[in-house]
């Protein structure tokens, strides 16, 4: 039997209220400051590097995102690390705070479905992150204009826009995860700790553990090692395992979109490169094709986590 009325009735009201809460909150201000300051530092280094060796790079603007100079990582790498923190910061108490404030039963006694509450909150969180990232993106382009003095070409804008969209989906994954945890755990502190644990595991520990697991599954062949090469099986397994981390998917997609010379993200044999003009940039469409599987992976991960949270929330008791 179909339920009466729209599942989205009231989602707009929830969205607007949550968005205004998010934007005016001190927590958001702190997260934004953290990201802006770190990103500025990375950008400063990048601009400095680019000015010193003004090569005839057709994609000068994109280099802003990817160039790094020790000790700071590149702008994109910093975002890959900090976007999850921002999403977790916004999402870890989305639902359990309503429980703890005892507002949940009062809100759900209004003529709306639970769907509207969850969706409104989720979209408000995502919109908050999208606004911040767009501001950051505009800032990068603006600084690039001022300090490099080279107007960006159409393709550079298109590629950096692709970066923005993928970054928002990446944030979506972590927001879904944080929301799922905020439904599963009644205490916001527990939800936050678990979310941060998963974040640290996937961004810091997993890239180290994945090669170890790969070597267990497919032990390196001494013949390849003697030649100073990676065993193909081990390399493939390493990459496969690493891709379980959304952080890795984001990194790969960024590599494809922001470095136009990237032709493949996996290991290739030399004979597969026959006829390729090494170092020549790919057209934008081709780069997007390379990044597409990773992007789909991020979107799928977002949806799966959201659905898990949705089901959990629908079955949860309202009373405190």
């Amino acid at each position: 039997m179909r339920r009466e009325g729209s599942a989205f009735q009231g989602a707009g009201a929830v969205f607007i209220k949550e968005l205004s809460d998010n934007i005016s909150s001190v927590r958001m201000l702190m997260l934004e400051l953290l990201i802006v300051l770190t990103a500025m530092a990375a950008l400063y280094e990048a601009i400095d590097t680019l000015r010193q060796n003004t090569a005839e790079d057709p994609f000068l603007l994109l280099r802003l995102f990817t160039v790094s100079r020790a000790p700071l990582p590149s702008f994109v790498a910093i975002l890959g690390f900090l976007i999850p923190l921002m999403a977790i910061g916004l999402g870890f108490d989305l639902v359990n705070s309503e429980h703890n404030r005892r507002t949940l039963s009062r809100i759900l006694a209004q003529p709306i479905y639970r769907d509207a509450l969850l969706l409104g909150k989720y979209l408000a969180g995502l919109a908050t992150i999208a606004i911040s990232l767009t501001a950051l993106w505009l800032m990068v382009i603006g600084l690039g204009l001022i300090f490099l003095g080279v107007p960006p070409g159409g393709e550079e804008i298109a590629r950096s826009l692709a970066f923005l969209v993928i970054a928002i989906f990446y944030a979506g994954v972590w927001l879904s995860l944080a929301m799922l945890l905020s439904i599963a755990f009644r205490s916001p502190a527990t939800a936050a700790l678990v979310a941060l644990g998963i974040w640290l595991f996937l961004t810091v520990l997993w890239p180290m553990l994945a090669p170890a697991f790969a070597q267990m599954i497919a032990p390196p062949d001494p013949r390849f090692a003697a030649l100073g090469l990676d065993t193909p099986d081990t390399a493939i397994w390493t990459q496969l395992l690493q891709r379980f981390s959304p952080n890795d998917l984001f990194g790969e997609a960024m590599l494809a979109v922001l470095s136009p010379t990237t032709r493949t993200l996996g290991p290739v044999f030399l004979d597969q490169l026959r006829g390729a003009v090494m170092g020549a940039p790919l057209p934008f469409g081709e780069s997007v094709m390379i990044a597409w599987p990773q992007t789909v992976g991020l979107i799928a991960c977002t949806i799966v986590l959201f659905v898990a949270g949705y089901i959990l929330f629908q079955r949860q008791e309202v009373r405190a």
Binding site: M1, R3, E4, G5, Q9, G10, A13, V14, K17, D21, R101, R102, T103, S105, R106, I107, L108, A109, Q110, P111, I112, Y113, E317, V318, R319, A320
Partner: protein, 328 residues
Amino acid sequence: MSEQKPEGGAASPDVVIAARDLTRRYGKTSVVDAINFDIAKGEVFGLLGPNGAGKTTTILMMLGLTEISAGRVSVLGFDPARSPLQVKRRVGYLPDAVGFYDHLTAVENLAYVAKLMGLSVAERSQRIVAALTRVRLLDVANKRVATYSRGMRQRLGLAEIIVKRAEIAILDEPTSGLDPQATLEFLDLIRELKAEGVTVLLSSHMLDQVQRVCDRVALFRTGRIVMMGSVAALAVQVLGAGFVVEVEADGAGIARRLAAIPGVSKVETIAEDRFRMTADRDVRPDAARAVVAANGALRRLSVDEPSLEAIYAHYFQTSQSGGVRDAA
């Protein structure tokens, strides 16, 4: 509960809530166990019982906020499990220990729920001001709710129901934790709602207050309604008789005349001029008439109203020792 025995099938038009064998089970334990009741339009109905007796679960089932394991409930003719939006559009709910968004003002809190109700901007602001005036919060309307006392929060919760123009107001433990003054004010507001024709469903374990506002009460015990009816009717059922009237009067043969009043079951002579009558209704007017008819001098006429507290205590005492177990 004989007189309220609900008739199966079509409910009469003024019944707004009808529950039939309503059951909620968690695993194998029944939190609400096949309860039946009818609530008429405009009545103040009390759900009484110790904590954990199933009052809140019953309320949540009526709002479609928790699943119904068996049986059914109809609220204003709608099935809350099937058309929850229709029910929630017409029913206001003030949860136990209601919470608000502390960083928002009273007006902002109400505006948010009014938006969820789907009211237009003009309608919203007009209804909110009217509701805040009624609950006497208008002068603090633009203060953050974090600064509100418990009583003010409860009144704000009631304002939400007024903004909704609910036909049924469901109040879960609305007066617990309030000081006596705040409680009195809140009970007045409930009476005002009743005067407007709103049906009020009140859950409480504060018997004294329930008695003051409720037309009928249902006594819950481990998921079952063990008694239902007006306070006076319950008193007759549990305490044996409802009213104890004391008469202080001079005159000949007064005791005999008092005993002849219909409804009086017993007349005790405490002193030469003092009599205690036990009756199933308030017989004070008849007693006065009887004394006057006997040319007596009536000095005092007092009544011990049946207290819900006494009923409650008596019932749970006797049922614990296995007495009135089958009263349901």
